[in-house]
Subunit: 227 residues, 2 copies
């Protein structure tokens, strides 16, 4: 059975990506990161989602002991209520330097160690926060790197770096998730680690836009409203 490593944060995008990898017949190994993020809550969700889908998961724990943005430090505030049209145009305070490179390098290590042929990452660059390491060109270069960074040769296939959500809009991702059977209520997107999603950070705003444009209700947010 073909093996894959899926980067799983417990959010809408990575969970949809996990379901997609499963639907393609991969035996999935979920990689979860505990990197000092404010929204530690997502780790619990990710574990639960992996378990429910019968996937093995591993958690990598590390700290970034330098100024690494609003998601990991209390000094910088998470921007709230931004204009949706402005979101992808400017790199926001929530940007964590080189985060995707760190995440992907661990995924590459695990994939190589177990002979997995693919790494899935749910990054996308349409309804996104403008992070530089979410752009298609970044991933095409990481793909090249993956081939050079690891063992290769007869009998060993190169490790593919797959971004199936690539240029999809949030609405398309929501629809895809629904089709694949994602239980949206279990996912967590909000940058704040509070009981209910704040509804105002970039991540909440983009998620809400996705559900709105897909003409669907978000069960996670309805819970917040006490509906």
């Amino acid at each position: 059975m073909k093996k894959a490593v899926v980067l799983l944060s417990g959010g809408l995008d990575s969970t949809t990506t996990l379901f997609l990898a499963l639907s393609r017949g991969y035996k999935v190994n979920c990689l979860i990161f505990d990197y000092g993020q404010r929204h530690k809550k997502e780790i619990g969700r990710a574990k639960e989602i992996a378990c429910r889908q019968g996937c093995r998961y591993k958690i990598i724990k590390f700290n970034l002991p330098w100024p690494a943005g609003a998601l990991v430090g209390k000094k910088t505030k998470i921007p709230l209520g931004r204009d949706l049209r402005q979101i992808p145009k400017k790199i926001p305070a929530t940007y964590v330097p080189a985060r995707n490179t760190i995440f992907l390098s661990f995924a590459l290590s695990w994939a190589e160690a177990i002979g997995a042929g693919a790494v899935f990452i749910g990054a996308n660059s349409t309804d996104y926060s403008g992070y530089p390491d979410c752009r298609p060109k970044y991933f095409s270069t990481f793909r090249k790197l993956a081939g050079l960074a690891t063992k290769s040769g007869p009998g060993r296939a190169k490790i593919k770096i797959l971004t199936p959500l690539g240029r999809k809009s949030k609405a398309q991702i929501v629809r895809m998730g629904k089709k694949l059977g994602v239980r949206f209520k279990m996912t967590w997107s909000c940058y704040k680690g509070t009981k209910y999603p704040c509804g105002r950070c970039d991540s909440c705003l983009l998620r809400a836009k996705g559900f709105r444009q897909a003409g669907m209700r978000d069960p996670l947010y309805e819970e917040r409203k006490g509906l």
Copy 2:
């Protein structure tokens, strides 16, 4: 003053690289990794070396919870007494999957966070262990990735990934280290974490070759012999 991040393991190559960066006028920030390596001893050496040179250092601690080779697991033995000519031809059991990619991604994160223009890594590919992520082509691809993975734009220079030891032989590195004032006795190369270097692992063998070909005595090994 121009800033740099130097990957420092406490070995011969990374210490020489640190001295080189200092000689080029960089204000150096040393990045040290505690990744479950057998030769934890190198961490102490790295800290000492950084302190003595008046450099700030940070230690990133993480585990690789998958089979990651003889350096981090007790299940695989460290190869001893290998034929020197064979060493670079076959990827040995000490290879840690994607280690340099993990190390460099953290370095990139720190460099971006503090506005450092350069990351130094002491990798070289002449008298080396045959690890895929030490090859020049690997680094040229990581260079491209660094430009795409991080913020860029007016007023922000790209982060350079420098491998000043590149294709140098171990003898050349030893000579360079001597010239720069490296105190070789303080460095640690042996893959085993024992009191004295084993003298038989690839790292010891390559180091000994370097000193021999440079016509110099290695003070660290003389200590072992009780000289």
